[in-house]
Structure formats: structure tokens, C-alpha cells
């Protein structure tokens, strides 16, 4: 991978253990090439992702957040991804309202067999975040 | 011995301008309709017209809501620690007698009992210019706590409104020095002094809310174990921190360390005994129930603090009444303490 600029986006990736994490693993074992911007955090289910985790990642300085889970209907815990879907939808829209571009928070459905899709998602998300630029929103010390 | 001077209201801007040469001058201002002490912009003195009192008391200038105690960085030899130095010379213009008394109260803990370096450096570098009240709120009850709305004991200079002029009382040497280079400050006449005394009497009479503070400590001691009574008193409190944070004499704080990789900082910030987890410890929380916390707040202010320092931890500024989300009113509680203890005892 060619380094285009000094700054590379740092993306916090919350991947659900049963589908997306396995999918990411498959991307690796299949030797699919994709940018290394996504820092993987394994969660038992995308439904575990509290919007607090998303905000905390942005607060710490991550440039983007990716939440990835099982396809609707395939959740290992029946409905966890449905809960995630509502939460993520509301979070994105509220963040946009307060001035954080909603593209900083991205979500995908990646199953355990979709190694190629995960590689594509990681690349696409990295490109999107690169376009928005580095996250300096929380940087300045007001107090 | 205090001597009296005076200044025309029209010259206040000029006076502040002179002081701005040596001090960072803070004056009352409004942001989003919230009155607070802010850095003077160099010309606006319109606060002389609207100012009654701030929402956040001037204690915030000595004990800020959040303060960095030190920052640290790990290096080859261990840790490099940096303590922020605050030697800025400040002048607070317009502090009310209740708030100034509050600072004196906090001094008892942060200066006399233990020397808190952060508080001390701000305290010794700040000059307090008091402004006598002219328009007390209906929530004010300073006169019941031994504070007159024109009290000058806790400031360096006291300004009293006598119409088109302010009478100035030089209370401390620091205050006297400040007037040395102010040409527009004149000697006050006997008539001016008499006028000020009339104003002081009138304003004291305008403080209509009163509490009989005789024997409060004893009354509180008597009903301390009355759980039913305190549960009723505490019923509508919602355990937020408004009353304690906005109280000129409250000073509880929490400390937290924040570390990211090999560097970080230690911060100090306001804490409140009203919060449920204020007394939480690993094995228990002695004040888990709301009635215990409400009892603690009332007793700390009117029983325990007097036991330790011979003065109530309250100056009657009334902010707790004015800004409480549920209009919990401490003067109502103090005026209706039960005469005797009832059956159910609890610690």
C-alpha cells in the first residue's frame, strides 16, 4: 500500500465476534489486501455497542468509528443487531446535528463468510474518513 | 480605622481602567442571561444598572469548577511533574458582602486549617472590591446569618451607592494602596457618610426573608435521629448539585487522574455531598439514602461547621432557594425544626 500523505486515519472498528470479526479474519487468511486503518475491537454482538463507545472513541481522537455486525435476521443473539441498528441510526443523526459529520461513524453488515466484503468495507471507510480529514474536534483544552 | 472617600459613578470606567494596568479586572457580566464575573472588556460598565448578584459565586475564582493540579510525563529517569503556576494579579470588582463572607469562611479551611497552594496563590494575588447591595432578592436572608448587605469586613474596599456617587470605605491597606493613584477619588463629606448610613439601614430592611438562627445547632442536634422527619424534609430533593455548587461557602472537591500512554494530569473539580455516590466506599455507602444526605447538608452548615469554626457555613445569599429545581427552601426547614424527638431512632 502506498502512503499517500502524512496522516492516516485511525478508525475504531467494533466487530461482532460471530460474524464480522470472523469475516475480518477470513479476509486475512484469504490474503485480501486492505488498508490497516481499522483498529479492531471484538465485541460479542453489534448490539453491545453503546453509543457511548462511539463517542468515547471520537473523544479519544479516533478519526472514525466502524460498527459491523451480522446481517439482519442472522444475529447470533436473535435481535442484537436490530437494537444496534436503531442506536446507530439515532447516533449518526444526532452527531450530524451537533456538527460531527455523520460519515465519521459508519456501519456495515458483514457475515463470517464475507472476507472480501470486509476488505472492501475497510478500504471504503478509510477513504471516506480520509476525505473528511483528521478529527481535531475534541483536541483543544478549553479548561 | 477606616476612612471614607468617594467617586462619581461616571468615573468608574476610568478607575477600572487605571486598575487594569496592574490587574486583570473582573466585573459582573451576562452570558446567555446568566450573570457571572468575567474579564472586563475595557469599557462596558452597564452592570452598574442591572447587577444584583451572579449565579456562580466568586468562590469559583479561587476554587474553580475544574483545575489542573499538575501534569506528568514519563521519561527515562522516572516522571517529570509540572505544577501550573498561577501568579496572575486579579481584581474582582462588585463582590457582594455575602459572597465576600463566603470567601472568608472558605479561608478557615483552605488557609487557616491547611494551606492549599492552589487556593492560596489565587487568594493572595486577588483584590476584592465590594459593592454594597441596593436591591436584595426575595430569596436573600443574609441578615439572619450575621451578614449585612452592606458588610465591609471581608473586602479590601467597599463601595456604597449614595446616588450619583459611591462612598468608598478603605478596609485594608491593600485597598488603600489602590486608591493612591486614582485622581478622581475625593474625600467624602460628613453628609456623604450620613447618606451611606441611611442607605445601609434601608437596604438591610429590604431583606425580608428571615430565619431565627438562635439555637439552630441545638435544635438540629435534638432532631438528628428523627428519621421520619428527615425523610419528609428530603422527599422532594432530587439530589443534584445546584445548591452546593452555587453556595459561596461550599468547597468539597474530587480529584481524578487522567492518563493516556505515558503522560497525563491530575485534576481537581467540584463535588457535592448531595450526590448519592459522594460517600461511596468499596464496602458500603453510609449515605445511600437521600434523607441522610439532606440531613448532612443542613447539619454540616448549621451545626457541625459552627461546632468547628464558631460560625454557620451559610451567608444567606439565597442562591440555593432561587435556583433549586424543585424550590427546596432551607429557610422553611430551619424555621420549622421540630421541638422534640420522635420514636424511630437511627444514626
Amino acid at each position: 500500500m502506498e502512503r499517500k500523505s502524512e496522516w492516516e486515519p485511525a478508525i475504531a472498528g467494533f466487530l461482532c465476534k460471530w460474524c464480522s470479526y470472523a469475516g475480518a479474519d477470513l479476509a486475512g487468511t484469504s490474503r485480501k489486501k486492505y488498508p490497516a486503518n481499522v483498529r479492531v475491537l471484538k465485541v460479542p454482538c453489534s448490539g453491545r455497542v453503546d453509543p457511548l463507545l462511539i463517542l468515547k472513541a471520537l473523544r479519544l481522537g479516533f478519526d472514525g468509528v466502524l460498527i459491523s455486525g451480522c446481517h439482519p435476521g442472522d444475529c447470533h443473539y436473535q435481535a442484537g443487531n436490530y437494537r444496534a441498528r436503531r442506536r446507530i441510526a439515532l447516533t449518526k443523526k444526532l452527531l450530524e446535528y451537533i456538527g460531527i459529520p455523520e460519515e465519521r461513524v459508519q456501519a456495515s453488515w458483514v457475515s463470517a463468510s464475507e472476507g472480501a466484503k470486509f476488505a472492501q468495507v475497510a478500504a471504503d471507510v478509510a477513504k471516506d474518513i480520509e476525505k473528511i480529514g483528521p478529527n481535531k474536534l475534541f483536541a483543544e483544552e478549553g479548561r | 480605622m477606616t476612612t471614607k472617600k468617594k467617586i462619581s459613578k461616571k468615573d468608574i470606567g476610568k478607575l477600572l481602567g487605571i486598575w487594569s494596568q496592574w490587574f486583570s479586572v473582573l466585573v459582573p457580566s451576562k452570558e446567555e442571561n446568566v450573570a457571572k464575573m468575567v474579564g472586563w472588556d475595557g469599557k462596558d460598565v452597564s452592570f452598574l444598572v442591572w447587577y444584583r448578584n451572579t449565579v456562580v459565586p466568586p468562590k469559583a475564582n479561587f476554587l474553580p469548577p475544574v483545575e489542573k493540579m499538575f501534569s506528568f510525563q514519563q521519561n527515562r529517569h522516572g516522571y517529570h511533574v509540572e505544577v501550573p503556576q498561577d501568579e496572575q494579579k486579579r481584581l474582582i470588582f462588585g463582590i457582594r458582602p455575602c459572597d465576600a463572607r463566603g470567601i472568608t469562611m472558605i479561608d478557615k479551611v483552605f488557609v487557616e486549617t491547611y494551606e492549599d497552594c492552589y487556593y492560596l496563590s489565587k487568594r493572595k494575588n486577588t483584590v476584592l472590591i465590594g459593592l454594597s447591595c441596593t436591591n436584595p432578592y426575595d430569596s436573600c436572608f443574609c441578615t439572619s446569618l450575621g451578614v449585612k448587605p452592606t458588610e465591609s469586613a471581608d473586602v479590601d474596599l467597599m463601595f456604597t451607592d449614595i446616588g450619583d456617587e459611591f462612598l468608598i470605605e478603605e478596609v485594608t491597606d491593600k485597598g488603600k494602596e489602590l486608591l493612591a493613584s486614582a485622581g478622581m477619588v475625593k474625600e467624602a463629606t460628613k453628609a456623604d457618610d450620613a447618606k451611606a448610613k441611611t442607605v445601609q439601614a434601608t437596604v438591610s430592611g429590604m431583606v425580608i426573608r428571615k430565619v431565627d438562627t438562635k439555637d439552630i445547632a441545638r435544635k438540629l442536634q435534638a432532631c438528628f435521629s428523627d428519621r421520619d422527619y428527615w425523610e419528609k424534609v428530603a422527599a422532594k430533593c432530587i439530589s443534584c448539585g445546584v445548591c452546593t455548587f452555587l453556595c459561596p461557602t461550599c468547597f468539597c472537591f474530587d480529584i481524578c487522574d487522567e492518563l493516556v500512554k505515558k503522560q497525563g494530569a491530575r485534576y481537581r473539580g467540584w463535588d457535592s455531598c448531595s450526590f448519592r455516590l459522594y460517600t461511596k466506599m468499596p464496602m458500603e455507602n453510609p449515605r445511600e439514602e437521600k434523607w441522610r444526605r439532606v440531613r448532612q447538608k443542613v447539619c454540616h452548615k448549621y451545626q457541625f461547621y459552627p461546632m468547628n469554626f464558631d460560625v454557620a457555613a451559610c451567608t444567606g445569599c439565597g442562591r440555593c432557594i432561587r435556583l433549586c429545581p424543585v424550590n427546596w427552601d432551607v429557610t422553611q426547614i430551619l424555621s420549622s425544626l421540630p421541638a422534640s424527638v420522635t420514636s424511630r431512632g437511627d444514626k
Binding site: A89 | V56, V242, D254
Partner: protein, 316 residues
């Protein structure tokens, strides 16, 4: 109406149908009320119904034990239903005394209009679409919509739908869509960078008194996320970044349970426009999931429900 309310409350206590009555009593400041929580039937004589009964009494349902008779306006009535949906309150343990409300007067707005503080105003009288404010004996009239709370100006549920008794007749709210979302619209007209700068500035003033959280009936968590230290999600001290995270997350956590009672904004001692966040959140909830808080006690709460296909356009 007040007599009817006092009679009803007294009856409930006398007949042993409830252990506590929660309602509004006159406050110790002018133009204010204070919650009355009592077991004594004599004390219900001080219950009032007026244009200043701002408190959301549903807050107390999660801490007062036993059976409770509670006075409810439209908004707090929905908060009660929301608590029932969340299994925090058992419907059979609550006797809801509905009080139709066509709007409350925001004393802060009156103060601004007449340039005087609450204790300097002699009288505030509402007559139809007009409010007469008397200061120093002099009267001045204002249109009612200039002194009502913003959230009252767009109120869709002025009469509590879920109730056991209703005091007085059902009323229509002072509907005024435009004014209800005035500040939100102003914010949406700004560029994202400006919006961020606005909120950053607002939250620099926050002192983390938690009045907003404590006054909210939807915030009933035993341990709030700000009180966690392992891990620490937000700093316990009021740095603006953490103040902002706290408020944004609080709003997302109460999504679908916030009934726009406006208390959070009213109680903030720093006048931070919190409702500009909470109202936008409840609008998003309605827009995306066609859900309004506290309108159906048998409906699953927003975050526990789902449709098989929704919001798919946001997912890769």
C-alpha cells in the same frame, strides 16, 4: 378545579387507595410551585393548579414506595406511561389524576420581556391569548405565545391520555409549530463547523451539577455512566469535551423516553439550551421510527423494538 383536585386527593388517602399523594403546592418564591409529596390528608389542601406548575412529578415515582396518587399534566403523564413501559412503575400502583394543561408560563421569558426579575414583578395574569404583566403598578400586555415555554408551544398531548380521573375539561394546547423549534432551526441553518463551535461554547459553561439528569424521569439508572470509573467514560470534572459527551450520550440513552417536558433546560443554572438537543432527538425518533414517547403503555419501548427493515440506507 383546585377544589375538585383537593377533594379527589383527600378521598384517595382517606379510602386507603393510595399511601402517598404527589402534586404541586405553591412555591416559596413568586410565580413558582414546588412538588408536594405527602401521606397526610390535611396537606392536600395546599394542592394547586396554575400556569407555573413546571415540575415533572413522574421523577418521584421511581423512589416513592407503595401506591401513589399523582397529579399529571400531558407531558408528565406521558413520562409516567414511559416508566410503565420500562417496567419501572406498576400501573396498578399508580392513580393518575389527570390535569389538562394548555401551556405554562416561562418566568424567564417574562423577566426578559419586562427587564425585571421575578421578585420585582407584581402580577402575571393570563386571559385568553393575552398575558398582562404588572410591574410597579403599571400593566403591560403580551401575546401568550411570547411568554409560554417553547415546549408548550408545540405540545401535542395537552391532556394526559392515560389517567384514572380527569380534573376539568380536556383542552387543546397553544399549538405553534414554528416557535417550538425556533432554536433548532437556527442551529440547522448553520454550517457544521459553526454548530460544533456553538455547542463547544455552551458546554464550556457546564459545571456538571447534574440538575438536568436528576430532574429527568427517564434518567433512573442506579449507576449512571458518568459514575463509572472502571473504565472511566467521561471525566468527573467539568472539561468541555466531557460535558458535551455526557449530554449527548444522556440524550441518546433517554431516546424514546423523553417527553419534551422541558425541565432539563429550565433547571440548568447556566442556561444551556439543552432542549435544543432533546427536542431534536425526539423529532429524530418520530421521523425515523414513527414513535412518540409515552403514548401507549402496552407498546414496547423504543430501543427494545424493531422493524425487520428500517434505516438500512445507513448500513453498508
Amino acid at each position: 378545579m383546585e377544589q375538585e383536585l383537593r377533594k379527589e386527593a383527600r378521598k384517595l388517602l382517606e379510602e386507603g387507595k393510595v399511601d402517598h399523594i404527589i402534586g404541586f403546592a405553591p412555591g416559596s418564591l413568586k410565580f413558582s410551585t414546588t412538588p408536594l409529596i405527602t401521606k397526610e390528608k390535611e396537606e392536600v389542601a395546599s394542592l394547586v393548579i396554575n400556569r407555573f406548575m413546571v415540575n415533572n412529578l413522574a421523577k418521584f415515582l421511581t423512589e416513592i414506595p407503595g401506591r401513589v396518587g399523582i397529579v399529571a399534566k400531558g407531558c408528565d403523564g406521558r413520562s409516567i406511561v414511559s416508566l410503565i413501559q420500562d417496567n419501572q412503575v406498576v400501573r396498578e400502583n399508580v392513580v393518575i389524576i389527570g390535569v389538562p394543561c394548555s401551556g405554562l408560563i416561562d418566568i424567564a421569558k417574562v423577566e426578559k420581556l419586562v427587564g425585571k426579575d421575578r421578585d420585582e414583578i407584581d402580577d402575571i395574569a393570563l386571559q385568553g391569548e393575552k398575558v398582562t404583566v404588572t410591574v410597579d403598578g403599571k400593566r403591560k400586555d403580551f401575546p401568550a405565545k411570547e411568554v409560554f415555554f417553547e415546549h408548550c408551544l408545540g405540545c401535542e398531548f395537552s391532556t394526559p391520555q392515560e389517567h384514572d380521573t380527569l380534573i376539568g375539561e380536556r383542552v387543546a394546547a397553544v399549538g405553534h409549530e414554528e416557535l417550538n423549534r425556533k432554536r433548532i432551526k437556527e442551529l440547522k441553518d448553520m454550517a457544521p463547523k459553526q454548530r460544533w463551535a456553538f455547542w463547544k461554547e455552551q458546554f464550556t459553561r457546564c459545571i456538571r451539577c447534574y440538575a438536568c439528569r436528576q430532574v429527568c424521569p427517564a434518567c433512573f439508572c442506579e449507576r449512571c455512566f458518568v459514575e463509572e470509573s472502571q473504565p472511566q467514560w467521561v471525566s468527573p470534572v467539568p472539561k468541555w469535551q466531557d460535558n458535551l459527551v455526557f449530554q449527548v450520550i444522556r440524550n441518546i440513552h433517554v431516546a424514546g423516553r423523553c417527553t419534551d417536558c422541558g425541565e432539563c433546560e429550565r433547571v440548568c443554572p447556566q442556561n444551556i439550551p439543552l432542549r435544543s438537543l432533546s427536542k431534536e432527538m425526539s423529532d429524530l425518533v418520530d421521523e425515523m421510527f414513527h414513535y412518540k414517547a409515552g403514548t401507549d403503555k402496552n407498546a414496547p419501548s423504543l430501543m427494545t423494538a424493531y422493524e425487520h427493515a428500517e434505516a438500512e440506507d445507513l448500513f453498508r
